[in-house]
């Protein structure tokens, strides 16, 4: 850990030690699950006495788990499309527009992050039950869009704030229409932020449990719902493999987003 020379008092050492312990507390469970998922033992010992892929074979070998991956992916892709489209235009309006009540609208768009998901989930359940639309992929995707929208708005709005408006003004002064300037100048420059937002929308949906818990049917179950159902019964080692798969999706999204940011530093900021 990079200690700077000026902070070497006993207090500083104590803070660093405590902070280090907290970092360990944060990462250890994730690392342990990843390791344990490759265990060859019948129950979860750490460190595992032998390594194998048997839990992954179980996970990918059972049709119900494979179907769940399919359902989760379809729901997440739809959510990604809905949330990114809605969120992109909303962010554009919130960052560029000058109108009254902007702060309130921003807070409103972010509020699904704060309202307990259990409440959003039962609200949607009552709502879709009346429409007899529970158990459908579309219903779940629409529900997840509510949760993913704030994530998209935050990421794209931050990207737009870092974007130099003069690029667009230059295009306009050279005779481009507003739409052309948006499409040919602004959008390519903020594309990394938009793609990153889309990835996080996907992840938000893929990881969500409560909304599909209420909206999924017996046939159509997401990965998280299947994990939930099996955890209510016992701590089955297969879940370690499923969990590692979900952690892998998170790592992929975080990594891709970091790459996008690295490559796509908008000029002029």
């Amino acid at each position: 850990m990079g200690e700077e020379g000026q902070r070497t008092g006993p207090g500083a050492v104590a803070v660093a030690a405590l902070a280090g312990a907290v970092l360990l507390f944060l990462i250890a469970p994730v690392v342990i699950i990843l390791i344990v998922s490759f265990s060859g033992a019948d129950y979860l010992r750490f460190p595992p006495p032998s390594l194998s892929l048997r839990w992954y074979q179980r996970f990918f070998g059972i049709a119900a788990w494979r179907q769940a991956i399919g359902v989760s992916t379809q729901v997440a892709l739809l959510t990604m499309v809905f949330a990114t489209m809605l969120g992109f235009f909303a962010s554009l309006a919130l960052v560029r527009g000058r109108f009254r009540g902007k702060g309130a609208i921003y807070a409103f768009l972010l509020s699904p992050m704060i309202v307990p998901t259990i409440i959003t989930a039962i609200g949607l359940y009552f709502f879709f039950a009346r429409l007899k639309a529970t158990g459908s992929i579309l219903a779940m995707a629409l529900g997840h869009t509510v949760l993913a929208l704030p994530v998209v708005v935050i990421i794209i709005a931050a990207t737009l704030q870092g974007f130099d408006v003069r690029f667009e003004q230059a295009a306009l002064s050279l005779g481009a229409s507003r739409f052309t300037a948006l499409r040919r100048v602004t959008l390519p420059l903020i594309m990394p932020g938009v793609l990153s937002a889309a990835l996080f929308a996907f992840l938000t949906s893929f990881d969500e449990l409560l909304i599909p818990l209420f909206l999924s049917g017996v046939e159509v179950q997401t990965l998280t719902v299947r994990v939930w159902n099996s955890l209510l019964l016992e701590v089955d080692p297969t879940i370690a493999a499923v969990s590692s798969f979900l952690i892998g999706v998170t790592i992929t999204v975080l990594g891709a987003s970091a790459l996008l940011r690295g490559h796509g530093e908008t000029p002029g900021t």
């Binding site: 803070v15 994730v30 344990v36 109108f99 807070a107 629409l142 529900g143 990881d207």
Partner: protein, 301 residues
């Protein structure tokens, strides 16, 4: 309407000549904002209003406060609400005690190192709550990793009951919510001018004095914001207490789920949900005055 001021470069457009350019712009932006707002109104606000209606209206009896009365009359429900507050307060304190030092370290390290360590905060933050809860079930279970080590080290003969009780809930919830605290506090600390600390030193303050008299007061909005955020998120927690708690660790959200799924008393569940919703929204308004929510999420890069 006042005539347009000197035309800005982006006011070359020709449409809607009747409106001043600024006004026309505002209308345009409101139009592209509309879809997102409408979707949230239809799929978020309307369902929430549905809950409110259901909590106070049944086709049979018309408008009634009967379900709120039930919560007030039956001691078990008040106990659950009390327990939810107590658990949330404890979790918040633990998050602050663990999160503040970490945020402080991250804020004072060189940016490159801090960014690397930030991955350790962000990876769990974006990992599904059910996965994080499962990880702690594996660690704390009867035959879990922690008990395996304790037995191997001879510290205990029989496995300790670490899961399915209040302690398990506190550890699990603290783990899940800690990143919110760290990110909120860090986002405020990062904005503290380092020159102020140097100035305190140059005026003769010891390291501790500089921290207590300058840095700590300046980081107070982070403490307030993080505390409020973690507290209101705790109030509505469901997954972690449901999986890691015992029969006597029921929190409001679990009661709501139970009433919807098993008892099928949707009106009563709705009344509980309205109470939880109101508490949360009060907290959110307060939070928004202290720290902007979006800053917290921007802090990760």
């Amino acid at each position: 309407m006042s005539p347009a001021p000197v035309a800005a470069p982006d006011a070359v457009a020709t449409v809607d000549a009747s409106l001043a350019p600024e006004r026309r712009d505002a209308v345009r932006y409101l139009l592209i904002l509309l879809p997102a707002v409408l979707v949230l109104l239809a799929l978020f606000v309307y369902p929430l209003l549905g809950i409110v209606e259901r909590s106070a209206y049944t086709p049979k009896t018309g408008y009634t406060l009967e379900y709120y009365g039930q919560i007030w009359r039956v001691p078990v429900y008040l106990q659950v609400i009390g327990r939810t507050f107590r658990t949330s307060a404890l979790v918040t304190l633990m998050c602050l005690a663990l999160g503040y030092p970490l945020a402080y370290l991250l804020a004072t390290l060189r940016p490159r190192v801090a960014r690397l360590l930030m991955i350790v905060v962000v990876l769990p933050f974006f990992t599904s709550i059910i996965v994080r809860t499962y990880a702690w079930m594996v660690l704390l279970g009867r035959n879990g990793v922690v008990n395996q080590y304790l037995t191997r080290l001879g510290l205990t003969d029989t496995p300790l009951p670490l899961l399915y009780n209040q302690g398990g809930v506190l550890i699990g919830m603290t783990y899940v919510l800690l990143p919110y605290m760290v990110l909120t506090v860090y986002s405020v600390m990062r904005g503290i001018e380092p020159g102020l600390i140097r100035a305190a030193h140059s005026l003769g303050a010891s390291r501790w004095q500089a921290f207590r008299r300058v840095f700590l007061p300046l980081s107070l909005p982070g403490i307030a914001g993080g505390t409020l955020l973690v507290f209101i998120l705790s109030l509505g927690f469901f997954i972690t207490p449901a999986l890691m708690g015992g029969p006597s660790d029921v929190m409001i959200a679990m009661l709501i789920e139970r009433e919807v799924e098993f008892t099928l008393n949707w009106s009563f569940a709705s009344a509980l949900a309205v109470i939880l919703l109101v508490l949360t929204l009060i907290g959110f308004v307060g939070y928004n005055r202290i720290v902007r929510l979006e800053r917290v999420f921007e802090a990760r890069d």
